[in-house]
């Protein structure tokens, strides 16, 4: 997606920046207010903490997929791990999901055997279920 492309672009560009150095920045305020004059660059020393921020920032980007940069000014958010109902239901059929939990209390609400009346068996459209199971199978094969 375009966001991902933007992220990749930003990773590459940030890798080459040395935030501990002084660098040239353009004052946006001056540009806006005094637009008839040539923009005068400001020499600003970026605090060394920004170097750490850069490190964590790029580490985040490299480690986590689906990252979206909101703003180039180090404002960014990381998408959450989300699943649709169909994917979750599809995963119910995999062998790992059917094992009895290791620590399951002895309690009347806990069945000795797997409770078979999962709602997707009765309410889920058969064709969609097949798709979900195929999807699950493909995940398990990876």
């Amino acid at each position: 997606c375009s966001n991902c492309e933007q992220v990749l672009f930003d990773i590459e560009s940030l890798k080459h920046l040395k935030f501990a150095d002084t660098r040239m920045e353009v004052s946006r305020r001056r540009v806006l207010l005094r637009h008839l004059e040539p923009a005068r660059p400001l020499r600003r020393c970026v605090h060394s903490d920004v170097g750490n921020a850069h490190f964590y920032f790029t580490t985040y980007l490299v480690q986590i997929e689906d990252t979206c940069i909101l703003d180039l000014g180090f404002l960014f958010s990381v998408e959450r791990i989300s699943y649709t109902r169909e994917v979750l239901i599809g995963l119910a059929s995999c062998p790992e999901a059917k094992k009895r939990p290791e620590y399951l209390p002895d309690h009347p609400i806990v069945g000795r055997k797997i409770v078979l009346d999962l709602f997707f068996l009765t309410f889920f459209n058969q064709r969609n279920r097949d798709c979900a199971l195929e999807f699950t199978a493909s995940l398990l094969c990876k």
Partner: protein, 233 residues
């Protein structure tokens, strides 16, 4: 428990009951045993297994039931709620869910709770105390399906309200069942509106469905006003 939260939970949506008396010795022993058992579960840190699908948060299943024939006043809600287990992945969730009976098959005054790990399904928990819940009252026969859809939406992060969701409850009662979803900040109207809209969507609720938002502060006030316990709500 001996504080304001010992009060009754009056609205029946997975809430507390008062604790005015001391449990008998045999009950105390049983509760201590239960605590030990639950501590063992708590100490076991859950992580997704290799190749499993991690969830955004770890969650814990809880179960509570008012013992038939015993006055509610002798029980504390906290003592009455039982931890079933925690999970960190989709597969681990299904392991628990598949081995638990469905809400529609519960009898009596029972609740299933599914809360983020570390958050107790109690008003007074730090994560809940400023929060509230959306309540939907269901005709008998709908609880199992609605509960499943609700918790799948919660685990799948379908509500899109950041860290706001605390957990969900299904409460089985005599003439109706109630599902509710708890969030952290009752005063955040944008968040509560988004939760409401998502609930409508994931539960496929008709537009005229009555949905009630109740702050936990109000629940506490109301329950204190109802003391002493005088019977089934």
């Amino acid at each position: 428990m001996n504080n304001k939260f010992d009060a009754l939970k009056d609205d029946d949506s997975g809430d507390h009951e008062q604790d005015q008396g001391s449990p008998k010795d045999s009950e105390k022993e049983k509760l201590e045993e239960d605590d030990k058992e639950q501590n063992i579960i708590k100490r076991k840190m859950v992580v997704p297994g290799p190749g499993e699908h991690p969830l955004q948060y770890n969650y814990t299943f809880w179960y509570s039931r008012r013992t038939p024939g015993r006055p509610a006043s002798t029980q504390s809600y906290e003592q009455n709620i039982k931890q079933i287990g925690s999970f960190a992945s989709v597969e681990q969730f299904w392991r628990f869910y598949s081995h638990m009976i469905r809400p529609g098959d519960l009898t009596g005054h029972s609740d299933f709770h599914l809360f983020k790990e570390g958050i107790k399904p109690m008003w007074e928990d730090d994560a809940n105390k400023m929060g509230g819940k959306w309540i939907i009252r269901l005709r008998k026969g709908l609880a199992s399906r609605c509960w499943e859809n609700l918790i799948l939406a919660m685990l799948g992060e379908q509500f899109m309200v950041g860290e706001e969701i605390c957990g969900a409850v299904v409460s089985v009662r005599f003439q109706e069942d109630i599902i509710s979803i708890w969030n952290k900040t009752a005063s955040d109207q944008a968040t509560t509106a988004r939760i409401r809209d998502t609930l409508r969507r994931v539960l496929n609720l008709p537009p005229n469905t009555i949905m009630e938002y109740k702050t936990h502060t109000d629940s506490i006030k109301y329950s204190l006003g109802r003391l002493p316990w005088s019977g089934e709500c």
